[in-house]
């Protein structure tokens, strides 16, 4: 009799648990489905239109090869002894050639009477500081070379983009060494002097001047990175 009561109780408990569980599941099923935020795969366009008055006077085409030697390493320190071991068959190597176009320009948006001095037939134009910007960059996809060991995965798109962005930053860092501002200053006269000659000024009476001769230290303030 006692066994029978215990058995009945056990069945009741099991049935109770099953009922509760099914209820919970049922309630979950009845709950409103959460709104899933879909990802729009339709190409998205964001544009920013800006009026300006810039005279580009110098264009440099530059080339750089970004390399990455991706070696799997086991490194650390045990009992105050450092170790750095190259894991065999874990190499990945990539070389990404890239071309970029740098342009120097003079911003005429603030150009006014203050920039012009006239004395009789003579005219002096004092130009604003030239600036440099990277106008485009192109990865030479056809000549990208890579080696991936059997034990490693291919380079992902995120990894490639990271290396390319580092290469881009390296080109911008090299701008002071390229001498683009000096070229821009010299070329500005080549554009403006013919224009002033057409206006009736004689070449000997035209002076195109800048605030100063720019050096490598100045250029850091004159680089415009659109990123």
């Amino acid at each position: 009799m006692r066994k029978y009561v215990l058995f009945t109780c056990a069945i009741a408990v099991v049935l109770g648990l099953l009922f509760c569980h099914s209820r919970i599941v049922h309630e979950d099923a009845e709950a409103p489905a959460p709104v899933v935020q879909g990802i729009d795969t339709v190409p998205m366009l964001v544009t920013q239109v800006q009026k300006c008055a810039k005279l580009y006077t110098a264009e440099y085409r530059v080339h750089k090869i970004i390399t990455h030697d991706d070696v799997l390493r086991l490194k650390g320190s045990v009992l105050q002894r450092d170790f750095n071991i190259k894991v065999p068959l874990g190499d990945r190597k990539i070389a990404i050639p890239m071309d970029a176009k740098l342009k120097a320009y003079i911003d005429f948006s603030q150009f006014s009477e203050k920039n012009i001095e006239r004395q009789g037939d003579k005219i002096t134009i004092l130009l604003p500081d030239p600036k440099v910007t990277m106008t485009s960059s192109k990865i030479d996809q056809k000549n990208v070379r890579q080696y991936v060991a059997l034990t490693r995965a291919n380079f992902s798109d995120a990894e490639l983009a990271n290396y390319q962005q580092q290469g881009r930053a390296a080109i911008i860092a090299d701008i002071p060494r390229l001498g683009i501002l000096e070229t821009a200053q010299a070329n500005a006269a080549k554009v403006l002097v013919p224009m002033l000659k057409e206006m009736g000024y004689e070449e000997k009476n035209i002076t195109v001047a800048f605030r100063k001769q720019y050096g490598a230290n100045d250029i850091l303030q004159l680089i415009r990175d659109e990123e």
Binding site: V71, R73, Q80, D99, K101, D157, T183
Partner: protein, 196 residues
């Protein structure tokens, strides 16, 4: 018998002390221990080579910065590979001063007439591919696939940004900028037109 007990207790104490000292010595010795396993992250870069230097004379009157989300898919037997990237570019609209016609400026007294070349896209290379951001990738993609995406982004940017409205806006701004500049040079009657 008592001495033996004392020796046993003494030895036990010595062993315990040695164990404690050993534990702390080992703990101190291994406090900076670590083991890392992973790839190198730094890149190597060759020196920047100048391929060409060109004297240009391009007046930019409107800059249109664009970003395009471009994706491509490839169906496999049971799965679908996808690659989506965000490309950035700036289309510069203005005039190329190397294309001016002879006699493009006519000045007499305080009047001046200037005929500029037609407004156009100043540089066909306008995508900054090295700025591209990866958005999503599944499956394996080649350099050829990425080149195709670049071309698609190029087409889309040209289509969206090189519009009649933007060309007209560039022309209007160019007219305004040149008028201001010529007026600041002392000309009272200024007429700026563009070739069609």
């Amino acid at each position: 018998m008592k001495i033996l007990t004392y020796i046993k207790i003494g030895l036990t104490v010595i062993v315990i002390v040695l164990l404690i000292v050993g534990f702390f010595w080992l703990k101190n010795l291994t406090k900076n221990d670590h083991i890392d396993f992973g790839p190198d992250e730094e890149i190597g870069i060759t020196p920047t080579q100048i391929q060409s230097i060109k004297a240009i004379g391009e007046w930019e009157f409107l800059s249109v910065s664009a970003e395009e989300l471009v994706d491509t898919t490839r169906r496999r037997l049971i799965m679908k590979d996808e690659l989506a990237r965000i490309y950035y570019g700036t289309l510069r609209l203005g005039v190329d001063m190397h294309q001016v016609n002879p006699g493009w400026i006519k000045a007499s007294g305080d009047s001046i007439t200037m005929t500029l070349p037609a407004i156009s896209l100043l540089d066909k290379d306008f995508i900054d591919e090295a700025r591209t951001k990866p958005f999503y990738e599944s499956g394996s993609w080649t350099a050829t696939d990425r080149e195709a995406l670049y071309k698609k982004a190029y087409r889309m940017m040209t289509q969206h940004c090189l519009t009649k409205e933007n060309l007209q806006a560039a022309e209007a701004n160019g007219q305004e900028q040149f008028t201001n500049m010529l007026q600041s040079m002392g000309y009272k009657h200024v007429k700026v037109t563009f070739q069609k």
